[in-house]
């Protein structure tokens, strides 16, 4: 490990914060989705970093990282499909313009 663990953790914290910011602030649904990808990546960074330490069984960390990546892919796929369907119906991808469930 070339750099200290806490630096990587800080990096992932920042990444996480940025991702959350995107989720909270972006109006575009696609933007929210990619921000979520950021959050997931920050988690993955943590997993890999810890897998190189005593905290996790090394294999376990990597395996979970793989699962996270896979599930992120699934999430992105389904999310984007929903976005497309939404766009077809509402002609918009902005969250505040989508109010199908709001009365």
């Amino acid at each position: 490990m070339l750099i200290p663990l806490e630096h990587i953790l800080i990096f992932s914290t920042l990444l996480f914060a940025i991702g959350v910011y995107g989720v909270l602030v972006r109006r575009n649904v696609v933007g929210i989705l990619i921000s979520i990808e950021l959050i997931l990546n920050s988690v993955n960074v943590n997993l890999i970093a810890f897998s190189r330490s005593n905290a996790l069984d090394p294999v376990m960390g990597q395996v979970f990282a793989i699962f996270v990546i896979t599930l992120a892919a699934v999430g992105a796929t389904v999310g984007l499909a929903i976005v497309l369907a939404l766009y077809r119906i509402k002609r918009t991808v902005y969250t505040d313009e989508i109010n199908l469930l709001k009365w």
Partner: protein, 172 residues
Amino acid sequence: MLPILAKLFIYGVLFLSLVAALGVVLLPNIFHAALCLVGTLLGIAALYLALQAEFIAVVQVLLYVGAVMTLVIFAIMLTHRIGDMTIPQTNKQSLPACLALFAFVVLIGGLLLKTDWSILVGTGGSVASVNPPVDTFMLGKALLGEYVFPFEVVSVILIAGLIGAIVVARKD
């Protein structure tokens, strides 16, 4: 000299990743944001390489950059309108979000810095890596051995997601 170079290189990559991540959330043009995300992801892949997790790094590139981002960009292209350039891309809660996240970062960062990580990484602190690097063989064994059940579940979820995506996005 080489370790220092490498260290500098990694810090540089991390920094660039963060910059790109900021780009993801801040850039008004969603396509640029997506490209920035590619940058971030590649940077993270480089970090994985530095952590000697080659397999994860490659999977990161293959899956995120190759597949997920392709999808995202596809979606952007399908939903993008010229007029989007002119309307605001953020909602009105950026200030509270900023404050909250600042608090979050301070909280967590303080926590991280206060913690003594030497238990986890050994006495050497920064350099000593406690665990040997994981090679693909071990990973494969774990995936199809100990973790075969979650592995299969993930496969099922993938299939479900695939079918679901097709059903949702179908034009009829």
